[in-house]
């Protein structure tokens, strides 16, 4: 049976969780949550999500520092990464898709869907 595409959401605030969770589940995706990068790394390895969303809440803090090595690892693993953050530094730090706050949800959701589809298409020949 074909499994649902899954999205791992890391370090998001309460409201972002609620909005993304509701919307993505509606569109037939499974959502995984991780509060901190370490937990996220474990989930990423065991669950193999199709897309990872990293919400940088307060840039320049220790939490932000922890997120960086995680983001790097994810890029190495070829999992598409979407970063939500402030304009200042984040877009230089990460090679993933970047959405500067305050972003609109419509394009973000479109981008996530696009990445999920791209991933499943890329995975089709082998599976």
């Amino acid at each position: 049976m074909e499994r649902k595409p899954s999205v791992l959401i890391v370090d998001a605030g309460e409201e972002t969780r609620e909005v993304l969770g509701t919307v993505l589940q509606r569109r037939g995706m499974e959502t995984l949550w991780a509060g901190e990068p370490e937990e996220a790394l474990q989930l990423a390895q065991t669950q193999q999500p199709d897309v990872i969303i990293l919400d940088l809440q307060v840039e320049g803090t220790s939490a932000d520092q922890l997120c960086r090595p995680f983001a790097q690892k994810m890029q190495e693993s070829q999992t598409p990464l979407v970063v939500l953050g402030s304009v200042r530094r984040a877009d230089r730090m990460f090679r993933g898709e970047f959405f500067p706050k305050p972003y609109h949800y419509a394009p973000l959701i479109r981008k996530i869907e696009e990445l999920v589809q791209g991933k499943s298409e890329a995975g089709r020949p082998s599976g």
Partner: protein, 562 residues
């Protein structure tokens, strides 16, 4: 952190932190210390950090690099050094922790003198007595060189005192002018400063002695001014036609000046202005006194010295205000950054909520609409709290004092917090004082302060708040009413206590504006009360809002005239 602070030039007010081992100084954008000055070379100089010291090296610049007025190719920098490149002056401040000896260890302040202490006070003298050292009234023939030298020293001493006592340029220049007039028999005088913007001389202070008509215009020859400014020399003009340096046709004759002294106010780097005095000696006076001149070389020399002192003071005052201005701008910048970050987060929340509402509307799903609506509502609350904090903090909001009941206010706050506490599985215990008279205070302000402090208590319990407890208690003892807000959270680390009431310092990350406690404190202070905190790491904290009890009867007797 060592730094360079631009105290003069186009970049005035900019601070460069010396963070790297090598930092270039120059006009080229590749330089870490980018100076916007056309007289600076592209790669003018370099600062190197070597063996805990900063070295300044000139990189073969065309106009040279100067440290404290001396041209250098390489120099070790010390705190307070002035680096001049082109028209730009930078102030070097070294690392704060000096290697080597610490004055606190090498200097001891001893306890009150023990009996065997060999030193004792022989004589005391008031600080003002310093000026009497040079009292010219001492028994000396009035015209001896010694008397004149003493009198000159006296003038210099008083000039030094005058410039040390003020940071207001106008006041300073007035004092200098007073001193000059006390000492020299001038009829008219004026001080002109070079306007830092337009580079032209602008009169700042003007003085005329009684016998000169006070409404008379002081006309100063452009020739003299140019000479003084360009050559950086003071001039004494006695009779224009006899002095070969002056073109007889020049304005000196037209101005009708017999004697004038004009000296540059030479500062550390540049001329900041000129001092000018003149006098007219009528033929009658010459007949009466037998003297043809009033101004002598001595006067000129002393004027130059006074000019230099005044210039140093003017420069210091300007650098000081430039620094204050730079700090103010930095504070404004920080404020805007924090506020926009916070507003951005609220806006993000509203966009999320609206997106859900829109989705619910298209899909005719009321549950989703409700979810979105809740998010929008929550953020609406956040923005109104933020605006309220900003208004209170900026003094826009005056406390609205009227009789109210503190127990009532606290109950309202608790009611407001209950849903969130329930969501967090946190119990709020309320213990209201049995006697709580009506008091005069600003119920809205105090409501806001209690809400801020109680919200902090909930936040302190963190996300995994099971077993968390918040106790809110009111108390009245006849002179004070208090609200205690206690939590059993992690407590406040000692290093953060000093920051508690500092604006824009928040430990709550994206959720905190850093305004809550400063604003609450301000509200209490406006009431003559205070907020204090007791905290123990691992045990929790207790914030107390203390309000002096002003009973309505007392308040109305104070305003009985109404």
């Amino acid at each position: 952190m060592a730094s360079l602070f631009v105290i003069r030039g186009n970049d005035q007010g900019t601070r460069f932190e010396l963070t790297e081992e090598r930092m270039g100084i120059g006009r080229d954008p590749a330089n870490a210390i980018l100076v916007h000055d056309s007289e600076v070379s592209r790669h003018h100089a370099e600062i190197r950090f070597q063996e805990h010291r900063h070295l300044l090296l000139d990189l073969g610049s065309s106009n040279g690099t100067y440290v404290n007025g001396r041209r250098i190719t390489q120099a070790e920098l010390a705190t307070g050094d002035h680096i001049q490149i082109g028209r730009t002056v930078l102030l070097y401040t070294g690392l704060t922790v000096e290697a080597g000896e610490d004055a606190a260890f090498t200097v001891d302040i001893s306890a009150p003198l023990p009996a065997e202490e060999p030193s004792h006070i022989v004589q005391t003298i008031a600080q003002e007595e310093g000026s009497r050292l040079l009292d010219p009234a001492a028994v000396l023939p009035p015209d001896s060189w010694l008397a004149r030298a003493r009198s000159n020293l006296q003038v210099m001493y008083r000039t030094a005192l005058a410039v040390s006592r003020t940071l207001d340029i106008d006041q300073l220049l007035q004092r200098i002018m007073d001193l000059i007039f006390e000492w020299i028999e001038a009829d008219r005088g004026c001080i002109m400063l070079v306007d830092p913007e337009t580079k032209t001389l602008t009169p700042k202070v003007r003085r005329t002695r009684q016998r000169a008509r006070p409404d008379e215009k002081i006309t100063i020859s452009r020739t003299i001014l140019d000479y003084v400014m360009n050559r950086r020399e003071g001039v004494l003009t006695s009779d224009a036609s006899q002095d070969r340096r002056w073109d007889p046709a020049a304005s000196i004759l037209q101005a009708g000046v017999r004697e004038a002294i004009c000296v540059p106010m030479q500062g550390r780097y540049d001329i900041v202005g000129v001092l000018y005095v003149d006098t007219t000696i009528s033929p009658q006076q010459i007949l009466q006194t037998g003297q043809e001149t009033k101004f002598k070389e001595d006067h000129l020399k002393l004027m130059i010295a006074i000019g230099h002192q005044a210039a140093l003071a003017v420069e210091d005052t300007r650098y000081y205000s430039a620094m204050v201005q730079a700090e103010r701008l930095a504070a404004i910048g920080q404020t805007i950054a924090v506020l926009s970050h916070h507003i951005k987060n609220i806006l993000q929340g509203i966009r999320g909520g609206s997106y859900l509402i829109e989705m619910g509307l298209t899909e005719h799903d009321e549950a989703i609409i409700r979810r979105g609506w809740n998010i929008v509502e929550k953020n609406q609350g956040k923005i109104s709290a933020l605006v309220m904090d900003m208004l209170t903090f900026s003094k826009e909001r005056e406390p609205d004092l009227r009789p109210a009941n503190l127990n009532r206010v606290v109950s309202d706050v608790v009611e407001l917090l209950q849903p969130r506490a329930a969501e967090m599985h946190v119990e709020i215990h309320v213990q209201l004082a049995e006697t709580m008279p009506e008091m005069v205070f600003d119920p809205e302000g105090i409501h806001h302060a209690v809400l801020n402090v109680a919200t902090n208590a909930l936040d302190a319990l963190g996300e995994r708040a099971e077993g968390g407890k918040v106790e809110i208690q009111t108390q009245y003892d006849g002179s004070y009413a208090r609200v205690h807000v206690r939590d059993n959270g992690p407590g406040i680390p000692p290093e953060e206590i000093g920051n508690l009431f500092r604006p824009f310092v928040s430990t709550k990350g994206a959720r905190g504006t850093g305004l809550g406690l400063p604003v609450s404190q301000k509200i209490l202070l406006e009431h003559g009360g205070r907020i204090y905190v007791q905290t123990e790491p691992g045990q929790g904290s207790c914030f107390t809002l203390e309000l002096p009890a002003v009973l309505p009867s007392a308040a109305s007797s104070q305003t009985a005239s109404h």
